[in-house]
Symmetry: C2
Subunit: 195 residues, 2 copies
């Protein structure tokens, strides 16, 4: 075959479309090759296994759909740091909820990749915790928050809100009291970090 | 058939044994009837479905294995209320971890029943939150804790520690940093409730 070189982005775009159409369980690397009209060999050079393809697509989806919009909030300058932290958590939780209901194929793949404890999930979580940490640092500088080690507190805040954003809990997100529950946890955490 | 009346406890004992032997997915109400050498009809009067049998066995197991030992800690009188709350949470987390590794059949059944959002799980969780509440009330009376509404704070503490005791997270409990993570969350929560 005489093929034009394919960029990784083009492959990922096609893979994402194919995964949405067939669902993550039924999509093979060969389905993606077929959609791109390239040989298996071409694709296997980029993605040597179905797992590597799923992880790459999930990684890009997490960065674009979750981490980047959250970074805008973390880097913002409006209002108090407490308000910014709450907004950040609400955005994280709201995004997860809406993807769970409106983009079920990508969410199912993300759930599977999370359950497989893929390294890309650790990196994603570390990036999010880094964003919380930068909000905490701002609030410590301004005197709003206690001077506890911000990296540890940031991780604790992420873990303590798992119920509301970890995909294993998605069946619980539609519960009537989900918002009230987050509000209770938020108030407890805010009380724990406030100076 | 001419059968002696069977107590619900005898049925549950047999059901638990059969469930452990065959695993929760492969156990039917008929398997339990066979083990007890009674007719299906006798058993179906007590447990009209496989779901009702699983829920009843899970409910008893949760009460005996989790809630009762925890109640002893909540009702204790030694040490500070903060120390008691930490001990209570460590016992909850430790029990869940050890059942996940040492009693995998019962733990798998409990995980399934939890995922099905069975009412018995809500009752069990409410009972545990009530125990946290009673520790908080003691600490508020003694001046150790802030005078926030203890029922709401108790629920927030339970939810904020889900990562460490909700069965959906059991694959993460063996992670190297699991204890350090609990410790971080604990310090944040303690900071949030301390007067």
């Amino acid at each position: 075959m005489n093929e034009l070189p394919l960029s990784k982005e083009q492959i990922m775009d096609a893979a994402e479309q194919v995964l949405r159409r067939f669902g993550p369980d039924k999509t093979s690397v060969m389905d993606v090759a077929r959609a791109l009209q390239v040989s298996h060999g071409t694709l296997y050079r980029h993605f040597p296994s179905k797992a590597s393809l799923r992880e790459a697509v999930t990684e890009r989806w997490l960065a674009r759909s979750i981490a980047e919009p959250l970074a805008e909030i973390a880097d913002g300058t409006d209002g108090s740091f407490a308000a910014r932290l709450r907004l950040w958590l609400e955005k994280l939780i709201g995004s997860k909820r809406s993807y769970a209901s409106d983009d079920p194929e990508m969410f199912a793949m993300y759930t599977d990749v999370t359950a497989d404890a893929a390294e890309i999930i650790d990196s994603h979580v570390d990036a999010l915790i880094g964003q919380i940490e930068s909000i905490l640092e701002g609030g410590i500088r301004s005197g709003e928050f206690k001077t506890a080690p911000p990296s540890e507190t940031a991780r604790a805040i992420f873990l303590a809100t798992s119920r509301f954003h970890h995909p294993a809990h998605s069946p619980e997100w539609t519960a009537e009291r989900a918002d009230a529950d987050f509000d209770s946890v938020w108030r407890l955490l805010l009380s724990g970090i406030s100076a």
